[in-house]
Symmetry: C2
Subunit: 238 residues, 2 copies
């Protein structure tokens, strides 16, 4: 079931009109997908799996490179090709579209290009002007599968958390040390504005382990005593 | 001297065709301005001051709210009004523009609106359809002033750092504890992809203090021994 926005994916999964939702959470070049992180603050859905997909971008157009004055694409695709665009199309305006497919669909004039996939090139009959224009060749997007239940312990798991800390020296360090002193590895940390108080942040953390692992269970208990807010966003097999 | 992009501000300041550059680094609602963070990895310029500006957004259009099918604005403004747009204009397409002023300038048809300032309303003769549509009323953008020199110690300073840590359990915690154990407060931490290795990150940290403070100097020395890469991005009076 295709959804128009990330918020819609959460909504459909919350209504249980679908079994699971799939949302992008991070790209290896452009970084966090902030819409997805912010949605996790407003849902009871849990992460139950992750998917990594290599992503390659192509410049599609009916015109020539020298003619292009406008480039349509999804903001993540524009971000993943920022250096290429600055070098080859520094004067072209960049127009944000809901998806790379939508960008290809709306690109008709020879002075306009879309950044999109090979399959969009075929589907919308738009020649590939320049293939593989992503700034970093190992360009991978990580997606999370969200649903009503988290996955059981497999012994090789990852767990996502969100928490806030008090505004005092060492507060974040104290929170992280509850994990570090038990040898629990963090694969990722992201901060986002809490949207409640000025310059207050929430921290999104991915750790190696499962809440049913005894060391993770103890660390989470301690974290709940240290932090004003802690929520496990889900666990899944690595 | 107005510049078209954040990269251009860095470029003009590097060429010393201007004394200082001013770049947005963070908004209290939408979070980090990732283009600015990423530019700091590729420059020798130093932060020497910061500016906080309250930001209010308005929906400008010649049409009525029910007619609007397209909203033009800068991606940060769209992000800061995301909830309002989802509620009041869920079907309207969002078009990214280089600035909120450019959005107002290109908005002519009654089915199109711009998110922009009051002064853009006057300048481009575009009525304010709905004032103050930002999602969070205390909406503040923090700007950094960049130039060839950092500011001297005043006793009430802030310092920006960027560093990478090894991929092992507790590595980030060890780095942060060099600051925490000396009572040095972090006002902010952001992670960004390193763009060198898959799922490797750099961390941007703002701390309270100046490299000429003895505790900060010792902490920085220790950090340089712990981390594979550390750079002070500058210091400025709080």
């Amino acid at each position: 079931v295709p959804c128009r926005t990330i918020a819609d994916v959460f909504l459909e999964a919350e209504r249980q009109s679908v079994d699971y939702g799939v949302v992008p959470v991070e790209n290896s070049t452009a970084g966090a997908v902030i819409n997805t992180l912010d949605q996790f603050l407003e849902t009871d859905l849990l992460v139950c799996a992750e998917i990594e997909l290599p992503v390659s971008h192509n410049l599609l157009s009916k015109g020539k490179l020298a003619e292009i004055t406008r480039v349509n694409s999804h903001p993540q695709a524009l971000a993943q090709c920022r250096r290429w665009l600055a070098e080859h199309l520094p004067r072209a305006s960049q127009v944000e579209t809901p998806s790379t497919a939508a960008a290809a669909q709306m690109t008709r004039d020879p002075d306009t290009a879309a950044i999109a996939t090979e399959s969009a090139s075929v589907l919308y009959d738009l020649p590939i002007l320049v293939p593989h224009i992503e700034d970093v060749s190992t360009n991978v997007t990580r997606f999370l599968v969200i649903g009503p239940h988290q996955s059981g312990r497999t012994g090789r798991d990852r767990t996502a958390l969100v928490f806030t800390v008090d505004d005092r020296a060492g507060a974040l360090c104290a929170a992280l040390s509850t994990l570090a002193k038990r040898g629990i590895n963090l694969s990722r940390i992201e901060s986002r504005p809490s949207r409640r108080r000025l310059w207050e942040y929430v921290f999104f953390v991915d750790l190696d382990g499962h809440p049913d692992d005894s060391d993770v269970a103890v660390a989470l208990d301690e974290l709940r005593q240290t932090c004003s807010f802690v929520r496990v966003l889900g666990s899944w097999p690595r």
